[in-house]
């Protein structure tokens, strides 16, 4: 029973809590014991605050009891009593915020991120700080300064990244849902590798106030969940314009779950695009076969499948590693050892403090990206690298918008391979190429979702990516939900 609770969806748990058969405190207790039981092997969490989580759960139970006593709806809030984990780059007031970096060891958030405040308003329990590649730079969670997270489906393998802790926690039953951030695939790729749903909303859909910045023209907060319906519930809670993030867009927030359900009921026949550029060299045959099988399921549902062309796809990784590193070199300039973060004790003057604190605080991948980004922005190289990359970005985005004139959504593999072994991709470029199918979505600012679509013979999860049109998350979730309704791979549990 206790383990079942840890693998239930938000809607299942809400029904139990609405009926009075389950309390939020019992649910939180079950998730805490599960975490204590398995996290020694998974290491999804950087830290968690058991006392605080249980206090939040009891407060949730009191809200429910008060609503019931008042004769109202026991479930006035969409996420009442649901434990949601946080990638350790999103601020929760009073809790640690490390970005899995020595630079921020010991830092405590002075305020809530907007997504945090909105989750609290929706009744959710803020649960645990989840591991990541340092400052969200990486695709395996091996770049964390505090330890490597294991894939719950094979402990010798990586969970993907950079939001590997969030994906692994949901996959291992240590959180009902979790927030992550996605700059080049950091939600979708680990979701695919861990057999969970991972949603990256449209750029501007969700406020980033209180998110540690990596590459500001690409970063977007999104969610990991056990089902497409759960992802819709979390998105509905966190989306919307925020005056504290001027890049958040003033587009109304619909009821995503109800909207997707309406599409399902109407039996809408989606026009779905397949881009040959996403099925070329480097694609693992078993991943390719599983994605083809998923496309056949859509065909069986009556969807119209057609080929689309995204000719600039091969330039996406190169474009990304210029733009993302340029922006990171600027964003990470704030870590100077003066007002917060690590300060070197070997320093004597006020300038040296920058050089030494940063040398001590940052790990190798962060340093590499700061150097690369500083270089492509430096005098004499800006036009050749940064400006050229921004122009290629225009062409990549244009490819997608032209395709969307003919199709509602595009289907691709999420990752070219299933989870790889720890230490297997020691070469940075090999690691970067792992993001080849997810990066274009960020450059174009589109919403994308990864959903489970099968397993390899060795038992490793495979993800299907659905790419949607800007601000049409309802349609994206409906397309994803149509497949999930036929092939519910996400309900499988790893043996731990």
């Amino acid at each position: 029973m206790s383990e079942d609770l840890c693998f239930s969806t938000i809607s299942e748990l809400s029904r139990l809590m609405d009926s009075g058969a389950l309390s939020a405190a019992e649910l939180m207790g079950a998730v805490i014991s599960r975490t204590k039981q398995v996290d020694g092997r998974i290491r999804a969490f950087n830290s968690f605050d058991e006392t605080d989580a249980l206090a939040q759960a009891r407060a949730s139970d009191e809200r429910r009891a008060r609503a019931r006593a008042a004769g109202g709806d026991a479930r006035s809030r969409p996420l009442e009593g649901i434990p949601v984990g946080f990638k350790d780059v999103i601020s929760v007031a009073g809790q640690p915020l490390t970005a899995s970096s020595r630079m921020l060891a010991g830092f405590v958030s002075p305020y809530d991120a907007t997504v945090t405040r909105r989750l609290k308003d929706a009744g959710a329990i803020c649960w645990g700080r989840l591991n990541l590649d340092e400052f969200a730079m990486g695709s395996s969670t091996e770049n964390s300064a505090f330890g490597v997270t294991s894939n719950p489906w094979d402990l010798e393998r990586v969970p993907g990244g950079s939001s590997g802790g969030s994906a692994a926690a949901v996959a291992a039953g240590e959180a009902t849902a979790a927030l992550g951030s996605d700059t080049g695939g950091s939600i979708r790729q680990p979701a695919a590798l861990c057999n969970v749903v991972g949603l990256k909303p449209t750029y501007g859909r969700v406020s980033r106030y209180g998110l540690i910045a990596f590459a500001s023209s690409l970063d977007q907060i999104g969610t990991f969940a056990r089902s497409v319906g759960d992802a819709a519930l979390v998105l509905g809670a966190i989306a919307g314009r925020d005056r504290r993030d001027s890049t958040s867009v003033d587009v109304g927030v619909p009821d995503y779950a109800a909207g997707a359900a309406a599409h399902a009921k109407s039996g809408r026949r989606w026009r779905l695009g397949i881009a040959k550029e996403y099925f070329g060299e480097g694609l693992d045959p078993e991943v390719g076969a599983a994605v083809q099988a998923a496309i056949d399921e859509y065909r069986a549902l009556g969807c119209e499948i057609s080929e689309v062309s995204l000719p600039h796809t091969k330039y996406a990784v190169g474009t990304y590693y210029i733009i993302a590193t340029a922006e990171c070199s600027s964003n990470l300039a704030r870590y100077d050892g003066v007002r917060y973060g690590r300060r070197s004790e070997r320093t004597t003057d006020a300038v040296d403090i920058f050089f030494k604190s940063r040398a001590e605080g940052f790990g190798p991948e962060v340093k590499r990206r700061i150097i690369l980004g500083t270089y492509v922005l430096s005098s004499g190289y800006y036009d050749a690298y940064y400006l050229r990359a921004q122009k290629v970005r225009t062409l990549i985005r244009r490819d997608f918008l032209e395709a969307f004139a003919r199709v509602d959504a595009i289907l691709t593999p999420t990752s070219p391979t299933p989870a790889f072994r720890k230490g297997e991709k020691a070469d940075p470029l090999a690691m970067y190429l792992n993001d080849i199918y997810t990066i274009g979505v960020n450059l174009a600012g589109l919403p994308g979702i990864s959903i489970p679509c099968g397993f390899t013979r060795a038992g490793l999860p495979i993800g299907l990516q659905v790419i949607g049109q800007p601000f049409k998350e309802t349609e994206l979730l409906a397309v994803a939900g149509a497949y999930e309704g036929r092939c519910d791979w996400g309900r499988r549990r790893p043996k731990l």
């Binding site: 750029y203 917060y340 006020a350 403090i353 040398a359 940052f362 150097i371 430096s378 690298y385 921004q390």
Partner: protein, 96 residues
Amino acid sequence: MPKPQDLKLDHIANLARLDLTEEEKARFATQLGDVLAYVAQLNEVDISGVEPTAHAFPVVNVWEADVPEPGLSVEDALRNAPARRGSMFVVPRVVE
């Protein structure tokens, strides 16, 4: 397009205010050389007449009324300071 060997690590590390060890310089030179050789393929793309994209959905002129409101308290702002004295951040001496 510049060549990968144009990357002068001492100069760039100085711009980035980041001390690198000799070992890091040697390793980064090789690794970033590979990355720069890879991104050189962007030279193949015809970008004539193409406008750069800075943000996928440009949002311009987001105005806010200039009204003071409560922010972080001094105590909250100083809580993560590496060194403080009273209500101030302490840094090494700047002026001789």
